[in-house]
């Protein structure tokens, strides 16, 4: 007997979990589609009208370009992080969605990995939305930047893994404040989104190299500008895939203990 005939294949299982989230998300397309386009619009309007005109020449690009290309991946980071902290926690503790799913032929690993793939998809969509806005403003060229959603996917997947592992330990929903204010906010400031990390003191530069947002921003900026490709970016790519996989593995183990008694 081959196992594929006894129950759905891995691809089918992951796809079905993804489909559940896709249906829930797209049910309210207008209200859910509003933030990814609106947030960068507000940010760029403010920054472009106000601050950026004082800094016309920056590190090989205008400051507005620097900011805009950084924003592409922080947007993916935030959406995946919200999805897999508050979203996952509510499904786990309040709506008991996973209990229902695990009564079907799905394993905890299917449910958790499927969720990370969905968060990656949202990351791709959110980074694409920012790209649409910033290219509509003429800040970047849309047609040379089409690798952006792929980096957006990886960014979403990476932060989904981190968020899922965090959620596995969280017993009280308010504790996510530590995650957002303690980890994501500092990264937003110091991982090369709003100024290059080379402006940081040497010791902090080393720290920044290990922080998970640094690599998506670096890779994303190159993908959006479609220039500046260099061999060291391979390290950023490896970092994202490797760290995401390792953390997701532990997230599955830890969440399994919580879902299966």
């Amino acid at each position: 007997m081959t196992s594929s005939r006894l129950y759905p294949s891995l691809a089918s299982r992951l796809g079905s979990v993804w489909y559940r989230h896709f249906r829930t998300y797209t049910k309210d397309l207008v209200s859910n589609g509003f933030p990814p386009f609106m947030e960068p619009l507000i940010f760029l309007a403010g920054m472009g009208l106000g601050m950026a005109r004082y800094v016309p020449n920056f590190v090989g690009m205008s400051y507005l370009q620097f900011l805009a290309t950084g924003l592409v991946m922080t947007s993916a980071m935030f959406t995946a992080s919200f999805e897999c902290t508050f979203g996952t926690f509510i499904r786990l503790e309040f709506d008991k969605i996973y209990d229902g799913m695990l009564a079907a032929p799905l394993s905890v690993a299917d449910v958790v990995v499927g969720e990370a793939i969905w968060a990656g998809t949202k990351g791709a969509f959110f980074s694409f939305a920012v790209l649409v806005i910033i290219s509509a403003f003429g800040i970047v060229n849309f047609f040379t930047a089409l690798l952006t959603p792929i980096v957006g996917f990886l960014t979403g997947f990476l932060f989904a893994a981190i968020a899922l592992l965090t959620t596995a330990y969280v017993k009280n929903i308010n504790h996510f404040n530590f995650f957002f204010t303690g980890l994501l906010s500092p990264m937003f400031m110091f991982c090369g989104t709003i100024f290059p990390i080379s402006n940081l003191p040497k010791s902090l530069q080393i720290v920044a190299e290990f922080l998970p947002l640094t690599h998506p921003v670096r890779l994303g900026r190159v993908a959006v500008m479609a220039s500046g490709w260099e061999f060291t970016l391979l390290w950023s790519l490896l970092y994202m895939v490797g760290v995401a996989s390792i953390i997701l593995f532990f997230a599955v183990k830890k969440l399994e203990k919580r879902m299966v008694k």
Binding site: Y7, P8, R23, K27, D95, K96, D99, P105
Partner: protein, 315 residues
């Protein structure tokens, strides 16, 4: 009836906090029958069900053997869940989606192509009498409708095994009758049904065999009618106001009750059990009319006799 759908030998479960939820239980369930687990809350019924489909990991012991259609949930959890339909104790429906979307999304978990899923969903909504509600939001459904929807969800993949964890708790009598009817017709089609309940009536109505559990162990097992015949006297007289017995001046202590009459005292009632209704009527005649009630015994009497009358910690 010669093949067993489920065979369990000496299963144990101790939770991380030290609670011994299931303690050395064994049973066999022939294919195509309905098997009921009865017991008070905390008896270990739900834990036992969940161990069969992998939602609870049983204790690792050499003497334990579990087979569900030849599969062990420890290594073939997905194969079992593919063959089984589960109705968990909590409804856990997708509150964000409507009735038919709930079923459609769930059909994807079984890998059903849309072409097969859509007619199956229509058929099930019809079967569970939810056709008019197919576009309704889950949160707008009544408790009975939600329960029927969860049962429909469990039937999507035409299960060979249906696991019902307290299917009718908290529902009104009409809905319970409907659900029992549906379970009976599924059984006729050949499904094996596993049921937990604390309604004696429910077990009597649909189960071919029952196990009464208490504190994680099996207390008695057998066909409901046989258990009644063997496990307890056929008649009971209840005295709803026991004070009238002392006021009547008659003797109601053991020994003065007549042969084959057994007395049992509850908090606010006394019960006299016997196989001879006449003996009970004689006793009743010593008391004013209206304070006694003679009736045939039912599974509830047996259940209380088997599991005791005191409430446990989690009831």
């Amino acid at each position: 009836m010669d093949k067993n759908a489920i065979e369990v030998d000496r299963i144990f479960k101790t939770y991380a906090d030290g609670t011994a939820a299931v303690n050395d239980v064994s049973f066999r369930i022939p294919e195509g029958t309905c098997f009921g687990f009865l017991g008070p809350n905390g008896a270990g019924k739900t834990t036992l069900m969940k161990m069969l489909y992998g939602m609870v990991r049983r204790d690792r012991r050499d003497e334990t053997r579990v087979s569900v259609f030849g599969f062990d949930p420890v290594c073939d959890e997905l194969a079992i869940k593919h063959l089984a339909g589960v109705v968990p104790q909590d409804n856990n429906l997708d509150a964000e989606m409507n009735v038919s979307a709930n079923l459609f999304i769930y059909s994807k978990f079984y890998g059903l192509p849309a072409k097969e899923a859509r007619p199956r969903i229509a058929e099930l909504l019809d079967f569970m009498e939810l056709k008019e509600k197919s576009k309704a939001k889950v949160n707008d459904l009544s408790g009975g409708m939600k329960r029927r929807l969860v049962i429909a969800r469990a039937l999507l993949n035409r299960p060979r095994l249906l696991i019902l964890d307290e299917p009718t708790t908290g529902l009104d009598p009409q809905v319970r009758q409907v659900i029992w009817d549906k379970v009976r017709s599924l059984k006729k089609e050949g499904a094996t049904v596993l049921l937990t309940t604390h309604y004696m009536e429910e077990a009597y109505q649909i189960a071919d065999a029952i196990i009464i559990m208490d504190k994680g162990t099996r207390v008695i097992e057998g066909a409901p009618r046989e258990l009644l015949a063997k496990g307890i006297e056929s008649w009971v007289m209840e005295v709803l106001d026991p004070e009238t017995m002392s006021m009547s001046g008659e003797a109601f202590s053991e020994g003065s009750l007549g042969p084959g009459v057994r007395r049992e005292d509850g908090d606010s009632r006394a019960q006299f059990f016997s196989d001879h209704p006449e003996a009970l009527r004689v006793l009743a005649s010593r008391l004013p009319s209206g304070v006694t009630h003679v009736r045939p015994t039912n599974l509830e009497d047996l259940f209380l006799r088997a599991t005791g009358r005191q409430l446990n910690d989690i009831q």
